[in-house]
Amino acid sequence: MTMRWNFKGSKPEGKPVATGQELAGQAHGKSRRLSPEELEALGQELEALRQEVLADLGQRDADYIRDIIRKQRWAEIGGRTLIHFSLNPITWAVGVGMLTTAKILENMEIGHNVMHGQYDWMNDPDLHSQTYEWDNVCDGDSWRKTHNYEHHTFTNIIGKDRDYGYAILRLSNDTPWRPRYLFQFSYFIALSLLFEWGVGIHELEVEKLENKEVTWREKLPFIKSYARKISKQVMKDYVVFPALAGPFAPKVLLGNALANVGRSVWASAVIFCGHFTEQAQTFTEEECENETRGHWYYRQLLGSSNFTGGRWLHIMSGHLSYQIEHHLYPDIPSHRYAEMAPRVEAICKKYGLHYNTGTFTEQFSTVVKRILRYSLPPKLEAMLPA
């Protein structure tokens, strides 16, 4: 059975059309063009690695996620307790730090990965992808749709991957320039501060509402579920916990808000480093028409970028520091990416593909440059040094 999809309809069709095949594998950035045979072979090698790790999943992986969950829960309990009962600004700040850490762990290393199905094989109802609900204003079902399906299927295809620039940032010349993009650096700052809210409202597809591609009526079920999730989160962090502190409510409110904002800033920085770095490639709908699994792998490789760091930097990024491996293998437990990375890099080398990595600072600075660069109209942008 063929594993191809056709963007015009939602269902795959049997016969491949020539156009996509001819365009597929054209040279991108520092990577060379691959022939259809090479794409097929690349896909098979990457798939073989996936199978090898899948077959090896076991107690070690279960112990890993349970240990992280245990640490996250103690950090959350400790953080909230300190914020509540702090006697001075220092203990309060430590509490905020612990709560921020717990929230980052819960969203990035636990929630995001569990919801990808990385631990479904454990058969534990508490760790099941389709039922897990995370500590975030973004509703779990909405996330599964916009992220797991749309972003991971159509990664970096301009016009199909709505995560590419989140419909408010212009990150390549593929998007027509408009005067409002001159100020996009400030949108970037605002998005970073309020990232979870932005991610939560992503499914509303404001740009399609503007173009009347979708109607408000069609979006009503989403708006309802988003409102339900918002009220749950707001009640917890901004009503109930502050109220429990009585006269000290303001310091709890502020502490919780800072923890949420802290997580938003960190999450957005990590995610921006994953697809918007200088060497992260974009694709057109045409070249991905009737895409093969080999080309899907190729696109995931070239559209993603890693950053290096110590063990806890990886854990705190939910192992999205291994964005390349994550995009190749979204349903493999994240802590395995570190072991898989050298082998993925070797495969890249063999096929002459660029393996995009660097330190966090290096990668993030190219993201910032990209945001600034493409805020300019193409004529001005062309005058900038490459």
């Binding site: 059975m1 594993m3 191809r4 999809w5 939602s10 269902k11 795959p12 798939e47 199978q51 899948l54 999943l57 076991g58 107690q59 070690r60 992986d61 279960a62 112990d63 829960r73 959350e76 309990i77 990808h116 199905g117 479904d120 094989w121 454990m122 058969n123 534990d124 099941h128 992808s129 389709q130 609900e133 599964r144 749709k145 797991n148 399906y149 749309e150 991971h152 299927t153 917890k236 699994r293 899907w296 979204p330 349903d331």
Partner: protein
């Protein structure tokens, strides 16, 4: 002594029902409350019903008894009932049903009960238990359940017909009821390959010595042959007057049932307990088959060229899906039984109650999915 029917316990359970419901909901208090209590002692968990292994006894070369101390939320059992026992084997949650093999009196006295497991050559669960489970370990359990109990019948004359590990519910019933029902007449006809395989040999013998209303007959099939009409008639001539409790391997129970009916035991006086579904080995070779969508109550015929998702859609269902190529897991649902082949990996999934991606799963024979 019958714990479940004791009125005081019933009312206590009733008043706790709302708490049970509260803890089963998903929320911050539930998650973190359960976490804190579990950190103190896993048996305090209000969300998960668990038990601690307090002792392990070797019964025969391939049978072990595990003694459990359950959480206080466990409601007890009637002799002859079974329960679900769950462990984590190589990271994967596994569970099977086992009969309680100990007496109700032991549970009332010490707060413990036991199950007795026979090692099955290819059995994932039994092998894992034998090789890994240690005293002090925690297992997940379910509440006891079942109708294979003496409470279900007023009959005064009872025949227990057991083979192999089918002895376990009988053992629970004998140790529970013999001390408190001198008026009842019990006979046990127990089939084992040879003397080494007889589970509870000593305990059964001492019960037979102690209680005149209990007659014990052990048949060694290696020397005396498998169950047959002659043997059954000679060992238990009055079977037709008795309420028969039957437990053992599927083949044994099928033959025994036919023989009993031939001897004049009517079907409504034969109670049987069976565990596990034997897999249709031919299913592995098949492509296609029937898919039953249990939530919709719809069946679809498969020819092996369509995925479960396609079949569901052509049957008029509207299941959730995303990429349709095995990437996003949006279409995931529980396969309750049967075999499916994963198009991406080529692997065949056989386990019951396993999550599958319907967009890349092709049925291999008869399959039931929760859609």
């Amino acid at each position: 002594m019958r714990l479940v029917s004791a009125p005081t316990i019933q009312s206590r359970i009733g008043s706790l029902m709302f708490l049970e419901k509260f803890w089963q909901r998903n929320g911050f208090i539930q998650t973190y409350g359960d976490f804190l209590l579990s950190e103190i002692d896993p048996l305090l968990s209000p969300r998960r019903l668990q038990a601690r292994v307090v002792a392990i006894r070797q019964e025969t070369a391939d049978a072990k008894t595990y003694v459990f101390k359950p959480s206080r939320r466990w409601k007890g059992f009637q002799a002859g009932m079974h329960l679900q026992v769950g462990v984590e084997a190589q990271g994967v949650a596994l569970s099977r049903y086992y009969s309680v093999s100990s007496s109700v009196q032991q549970f009332v006295r010490e707060g413990t009960f036991s199950i007795t497991v026979k090692r099955i050559p290819q059995g994932r669960m039994s092998n894992w238990l034998f090789d890994n489970l240690q005293p002090e370990d925690i297992v997940r359990i379910g509440q006891a359940d079942g109708e294979f109990t003496l409470e279900q019948t007023p009959a005064q004359k009872v025949l227990f017909l057991a083979a192999g590990s089918g002895i376990t519910p009988m053992m629970s019933m004998l140790t529970t009821h013999l001390p408190q029902a001198p008026e009842r007449d019990f006979q046990l006809l127990y089939y084992c390959c040879n003397p080494d395989e007889v589970i509870f040999a000593q305990a059964l013998q001492s019960l037979a010595d102690q209680y005149p209303n209990f007659k014990l007959e052990v048949v060694h099939t290696d020397t005396e042959g498998l169950i047959n009409a002659e043997q059954l008639a000679s060992r238990c001539a009055d079977a037709a007057e008795r309420e028969v409790f039957l437990c053992g391997p599927g083949g044994f129970m099928q033959v025994a049932r036919e023989l009993l009916e031939a001897q004049g035991v009517t079907a409504d006086h034969i109670r049987q307990e069976s565990f596990g579904v034997r897999l249709d080995v031919n299913a592995l070779e098949q492509t296609g088959g029937e898919v039953f969508f249990s939530k919709a109550g719809v069946e679809a015929e498969a020819d092996g060229s369509q995925t479960i998702l396609m079949l569901a859609e052509s049957a008029g269902l509207k299941p959730k899906y995303g990429c349709r190529t095995g990437i996003c897991h949006e279409c995931k649902c529980v396969k309750k039984s049967g075999a499916v082949r994963n198009l991406l990996t080529g692997q065949v999934s056989l386990a019951e109650n396993e999550a599958i991606q319907t967009c890349i799963s092709v049925p291999q024979g008869k399959v039931e999915v929760a859609l």
